[in-house]
């Protein structure tokens, strides 16, 4: 009975516990993360009585948590994947809604801008249309700004969202570490409280919504969580959790760096591409950043194109247009306290090079330069030495006062290009609607030809085929820098490029050379050089396709000066030296002031060694023929060498001075022999001009040598002195300046003498001086060799900018050294020359000349046949009908053509021009941009729908195991209740049995 009673008692207890488990399940029906619990029972061990085993009832073994690890992990994975899509969809749709909106998108603003331009082109003189064009241009610029701001807002929002997600993840990892700590108290999983495990799984599921995680479970139920896959960064391990941080790049929204322990030892986290966080990062990299970049590119392209057109037209006042739009980046300049400068000016000078990257600038005294460090890449550049600023990455940076050593600034562009777009013009009359130039037939033309002018975007003349730019010679006109050039009358040796300022090209030739320079324009105008034979003319103009085929050779401006020069250019061929202005800056108490005095220094030149020639003939010969050279416009007589005499610098100086009254150039001569102390050979003797120096014995010092020379001055006509640096200098004595000095050795077999110099006759050099200029040019028979006789180099000197490319020929036989010097290119002059009016004059029905109006220069004479187009300076002039002799067509400024719309039509035409990547128009590119974002959103939507199914299945699978069903619990309730009642009956039976025993009397 006792055993029956104990079986009964044990069973009631068991079923009460089972009932309470069921009740707990029912109670937790709506608890999130609750796993259904099941009571597990087992038989008690039986008692053995003899050979039989008698059962001793049942007991509660364990309360099990209905749980499946695989169902749980597949639920986590599918939830990561599903939550990846949501931010993609939401934000991509936001971007599409912003950009594709009919009212606030860019399309309508672009349409309106071009419609206004088109309307203005129909009546350019209308002030109303001009105003509405400005209004719509402003509308478009502000639409760019608004959209950029809106995109910026999305960028900001996703940034905050990422930070929120990272924060939530960090809080979850801390909770998980805490749960791990609790779990650590028990050794086995079975012994862990189910509620703790439920909590653990709930945290893991929440984490996996933020990012995909990899979970490893220990036997006791502790988990290690990693970011991404099994090799990812550890977030939680045992009781320790590691924080995650996100770092953003200000310039590139696509760049988001995740860092483990951002406030600790900072390790790069493994990539996150799943979960909410993955979706957000993905959106920024793959959707937002490209969209913002394309949008900026669109703005930059539009601004550049419109400005280019607008600034090449004329406005209603006849002035050249300026930029219509500007893109203003806004910079944030920060500096540590104590910097001397508060004022920094930054402007974009080359928009193409400007990359919107932030940088740091530090003045380094030692290097006398600004050290610039790119904040993103860390690349360091040193600016050109200047304490007041520099140019860097398309920016011009200027500081108000000179920099102090170590001064540092942080420069950060805070707006995107499209966000800084702005209309520059506010004056309706400043809109450049008209073309710069126009053509008009003269009112007195007899011919009926009607003329039209178009501007060819590519100039008709694109340079000479042959001939290197003189820039290739390097900017050094000295003899040492000369490059050997072979003479050719077929192709130019060099070209002086358009825009070259202050060019000079130098030619080195020997006395007996026939080499010369010839300078030609592309239209066959011979500008500098020597008269050519008909054959030579043809040869020179035929070899290079750069010469206009129809043009005829012209020598009208050959070597001309002043107002009769080609385009009134200041050109010299020969030798030129000018007076120089010297500025002397005045010093006041504050140091060097802004005031100065000017001193004009006379023009001066020193020649090289003059020609040494002895006339062995019986009659006098000319070293330089009469009228070969002109000095300051005065023809020089012949430089004649008498029979038996030898040329010298003195003789040439006298010859030059004989014309000084007319040329205003005074010449002097000097022969100098300078000997380095170490070259003096005291074992030898020397004779100067045939006079033995010393008394026949050997001399021992430089000073003694000088003294000995000076002792013989009366006979030798030379004097000597020891210079401060120990050299021995031998020059002509007074009254003999420029005479030749002959050195010889009394020992006839010696090559050298006491001076260590070769035994020979030494010639002197000429010094020329004049108040204005010294200009040596060639007469009819003169050649560069004549200048070489005087020890002078021949050059081409261009004073001022060259407005068209000039071909430089080196003609003659052999080769010559050519060197060049030039100033900074003056492209503005070249640009302005395009606006110089010119006239086309027909001398007959098949010949015309082009005359520059300002200078009257005939720049080209060409043959014409009916139907030809005339191309000049990029203009194409076409005729309807045939011009006849005497017809004149003037191309001049369109400054009063207020009704001309040619330039506006070019702006209108931009809407159909494939500007973006050479394949899409502005509006197509914009719509394309929106549809790329849209298709990303659509793709994400499809993925989401598919992943939703996967997720639902995972939820279902998990639910099937761990979920609570009321019907099931009701059935269990009845089952255990009945079992409980039966167990109670067992006790009853035991009691009755006991009573039966007791009642036995």
């Amino acid at each position: 009975m006792a055993d029956i009673l104990s079986i009964g008692a044990g069973a009631t207890q068991l079923y009460r516990q089972a009932l309470s488990t069921v009740s707990n399940n029912i109670a937790n029906l709506n608890t999130v993360g609750y796993s259904r619990q099941v009571s597990e029972t087992s038989e008690n061990s039986p008692s053995q009585q003899g050979t039989v085993f008698i059962g001793s009832g049942a007991r509660l073994d364990n309360i099990e948590r209905a749980y499946d690890e695989f169902a749980e992990s597949s639920l986590r994975d599918s939830s990561s994947q599903l939550s990846t899509q949501q931010p993609l969809i939401n934000y991509a749709n936001r971007v599409v809604d912003i950009m594709a909106s009919q009212s606030s998108g860019l399309s309508s603003a672009l349409d309106q801008f071009f419609a206004a331009a088109s309307a203005l082109s129909a009546d350019p003189a209308s002030i109303n249309l001009r105003s509405s064009f400005l209004r719509d241009a402003e509308g478009m610029a502000s639409r760019f700004r608004e959209l950029s701001t809106q995109l910026g807002a999305v960028e900001n929002e996703t940034r905050e969202s990422i930070e929120t997600q990272v924060g939530a993840l960090n809080s979850l990892t801390q909770q998980l570490a805490f749960v791990n700590k609790e779990l650590n108290k028990k050794l086995t999983l079975d012994s862990q409280p189910p509620v703790l495990l439920d909590q653990r799984d709930r945290i893991l599921r929440q984490m996996s919504e933020i990012t995909k995680i990899h979970v490893a479970e220990s036997p006791s139920g502790l988990v290690t969580a990693r970011l991404g896959g099994s090799a990812g960064s550890i977030l939680v391990e045992g009781k320790v959790s590691y924080d995650l941080g996100a770092v953003f790049d200000d310039v590139n929204p696509g760049r988001v760096d995740l860092i483990i322990e951002p406030y600790g030892d900072k390790r790069v986290a493994s990539t996150v591409n799943s979960g909410m966080l993955g979706g957000l990062i993905n959106f920024r990299t793959q959707t937002l950043a490209p969209a913002m970049d394309s949008f900026d590119h669109l703005a930059q392209t539009l601004v550049a194109e419109v400005n280019q057109i607008h600034s090449s037209g004329l406005d209603a006042r006849g002035q050249r247009g300026t930029d219509l739009f500007a893109i203003d980046p806004v910079f944030q300049v920060t500096a540590p306290a104590g910097n001397a400068n508060a004022d920094i000016t930054i402007s974009v000078v080359k928009p193409d090079d400007f990359a919107y990257a932030s940088f740091k600038m530090t003045w380094v005294n030692e290097q006398n330069s600004w050290r610039i460090e790119d904040t993103a890449t860390g690349a360091v550049t040193l600016a050109a030495p200047s304490a007041r600023g520099f140019e860097y990455a398309g920016l011009s940076v200027t500081v108000a006062t000179p920099a102090v050593d170590g001064e540092t600034f942080y420069i950060e562009p805070i707006s995107r290009p499209a966000g800084g777009m702005r209309l520059l013009q506010s004056d309706p009359f400043a809109i450049a609607t008209a073309e710069t130039m126009r053509v008009m037939g003269s009112a007195s033309n007899i011919g009926e030809a009607k003329v039209t002018l178009t501007y060819a975007p590519e100039p008709a003349f694109d340079g000479f085929e042959y001939g290197a730019s003189i820039f290739a010679l390097g900017n050094n006109p000295s003899q040492d820098a000369a490059q050997l050039v072979k003479a050719s009358d077929l192709t130019p040796a060099f070209v002086i490029p358009k825009g070259t300022d202050q060019a000079n090209v130098m030619l080195d030739v020997p006395y007996d050379s026939n080499l010369t320079f010839q300078v030609m324009t592309s239209n066959g105008v011979h500008v500098l050089g020597h008269t050519l034979s008909a054959n030579e003319q043809v040869r020179m103009l035929s070899g290079d396709s750069g010469f206009s085929a129809d043009s005829t050779y012209s020598a009208n401006y050959l070597n001309a000066t002043g107002s009769s020069a080609y385009l009134d250019l200041d050109l010299t061929y020969g030798f030129l030296a000018r007076d120089v202005e010297r500025k002397d800056w005045l010093v006041d108490s504050n140091g060097i002031s802004n005031e100065y005095t000017t001193t004009t220094l006379n023009a001066a030149a020193t020649s090289g060694d003059v020609r040494l020639q002895t006339n062995d003939a019986a009659v006098a010969v000319d070293l330089i023929a009469a009228n070969s050279l002109q000095l300051n416009g005065v023809s020089l007589s012949a430089l004649s060498l008498a029979a038996g005499s030898t040329s010298s610098a003195a003789q040439m100086a006298t010859w030059l001075n004989s014309a000084a009254a007319n040329t205003n150039v005074t010449a002097s001569a000097q022969t100098i022999i300078e000997v380095d102390a170490e070259n003096i050979d005291f074992t030898q003797q020397v004779k100067i001009n045939g006079v033995l120096i010393g008394n026949g014995g050997l001399l021992t010092s430089t000073a003694a040598l000088a003294e000995a020379i000076n002792a013989k001055t009366a006979q030798s006509n030379v004097v000597a002195k020891v210079t401060y640096d120990g050299k021995l200098q031998i020059t002509n004595a007074a009254g003999y300046e420029g005479e030749n000095i002959t050195l010889s050795n009394p020992n006839g077999s010696a090559v050298k003498n006491a001076l260590g110099q070769i035994n020979k006759t030494y010639v002197g050099q000429l010094q020329l001086e004049a108040a204005g200029e010294i200009r040596l040019t060639f007469g009819a028979a003169g050649v560069p060799a004549d200048l070489a006789t005087l020890g002078l180099r021949t050059g081409i000197y261009v004073n001022g900018p060259v407005t068209e490319e000039l071909a430089v020929f080196v003609t003659g036989t052999g080769s010559a050294g050519v060197a060049a010097g030039f100033g900074a290119p003056n492209n503005e002059a070249a640009k302005q020359s395009l606006e110089q009016p010119f006239t086309i004059q027909f001398s007959s029905a098949n010949q015309y000349s082009i005359v520059d109006d300002a200078t009257g220069t005939v720049v080209a004479t060409r043959s014409y046949s009916a139907g030809d187009e005339i191309k000049h300076k990029g203009f194409v002039i076409a005729f309807d009908g045939n011009p006849i002799a005497g017809d004149v067509f003037a191309v001049d400024s369109n400054s009063d053509g207020i009704g001309d719309n040619s330039n506006m039509l070019k702006i209108v035409a931009l809407q159909d021009k494939e500007l973006i990547d050479g394949s899409r128009t502005l509006s197509e590119a914009y719509i394309g941009l929106v549809s790329v974002v849209g298709s990303k959103a659509a793709l994400a939507t499809i993925s989401r729908d598919a992943l939703q199914v996967v997720y639902d299945q995972a939820v279902e699978a998990k639910d099937q195991i761990s979920g609570v069903s009321l019907d099931e619990e009701a059935a269990q309730l009845i089952r255990f209740q009945q079992a409980y009642q039966a167990s109670a009956q067992i006790i009853q039976v035991a009691s009755k049995l006991f009573d039966s025993i007791l009642s036995i009397r």
Binding site: M440, I898, D900, D959
Partner: protein, 307 residues
């Protein structure tokens, strides 16, 4: 397969809210009459709509250009018609003047009329359009095209620029005809055997001078010259006429193009009510079915039967 109680509720709720949002979306479509409420509903379609409305806007701006062109041409035409009438009269007078029977005083009377007509022609040559632009000044719209120069001769002061206006994607039309071509000059053989250009008004002035001086030889040559001028005017009228016809033709073509784009835009943008309403009804039906089945299923519980 076991379905947990909470899942039964959650799934029913999810389905019903999805259905409800569909219905709400349909309702907005019906209320706005548009297929797409937000561009993100269908980005491709939104792109198409943008493209079509850009094209349509373009046609509108061609239409406005055509309007400007037509009004300009009308100004040109009316000036030219009057010019032609006057020139006819001048020519009649020239024919009349060369008649040998006319006396000096008769010719003086004719001269007076010729001078009046010449002034009338001058004011026509300086015609301005509604915006105040000189019609016959080339691109120098604010410069009086026929005015006396410093020497006191009446010369053309405009330029010979032709202003082209976009009137369709492929076509441009000439807006103006320079005055030098309308009130054109002629070539006159001089006594020395050379030729010289003589302006429109100089011809008339020479004619009236000949009348004043009773110079019949000059009158004869003036008659020839005036005939030439009359002919040039006729050519100018023909030119304006053909340009106006072209503008009319282009306006018609433009309207066709516009109608086509509008049709396409409407297809892309506007809602098809019949199908939308049918769809709404069916969506509503499935929502109702969901609701009523949920109401019934949620009643089922084993606990109801445990008594």
């Amino acid at each position: 397969m076991k379905v947990s109680t909470s899942q039964i509720f959650e799934r029913a709720m999810a389905q019903m809210s999805a259905q409800q949002s569909k219905v709400a979306n349909m309702q907005t479509q019906l209320a706005t009459g548009k297929q797409i409420i937000r561009p993100s509903d269908n980005p491709d379609q939104a792109g198409l709509i943008q493209r079509l409305s850009t094209a349509l806007n373009r046609q509108d701006s061609y239409a406005s250009n055509l309007g400007a062109l037509t009004s300009r041409l009308k100004a040109e035409e009316s000036a030219l018609m009057t010019t032609e009438n006057i020139m006819q009269r001048v020519r009649e007078l020239a024919v009349q003047a060369t008649n040998d029977t006319l006396s000096t005083s008769d010719r003086k009377i004719i001269a007076t009329e010729v001078k009046a007509l010449r002034n009338e022609l001058l004011s026509l040559a300086n015609t301005q359009d509604v915006s105040g632009n000189y019609v016959f000044a080339g691109s120098m719209a604010r410069t009086k095209p026929f005015a006396e120069n410093a020497q006191g001769t009446l010369v053309y002061q405009g330029d010979s620029n032709r202003i082209m206006v976009d009137i369709s994607d492929q076509r441009q039309m000439q807006l103006n005809r320079p005055g030098s071509e309308v009130y054109s000059s002629i070539v006159r053989e001089t006594a020395g055997g050379t030729s010289e250009r003589v302006g429109f008004f100089s011809v008339l002035d020479d004619f009236s001078a000949a009348l004043d001086n009773n110079n019949t030889a000059q009158m004869q040559s003036s008659l020839g010259e005036i005939s030439q001028l009359t002919q040039n005017t006729a050519i100018a009228i023909a030119d304006v006429g053909s340009r106006m016809a072209m503008a009319d033709f282009q306006t018609d073509a433009l309207n066709d193009v516009k109608a086509r784009y509008q049709q396409l835009l409407s297809n892309a943008e506007d809602l098809d009510y019949a199908s939308a309403i049918t769809q709404l009804t069916s969506e509503m039906m499935s929502l109702e079915a969901g609701q009523s089945s949920f109401a019934k299923i949620s009643q089922l519980s084993l606990f109801d039967y445990i008594r």
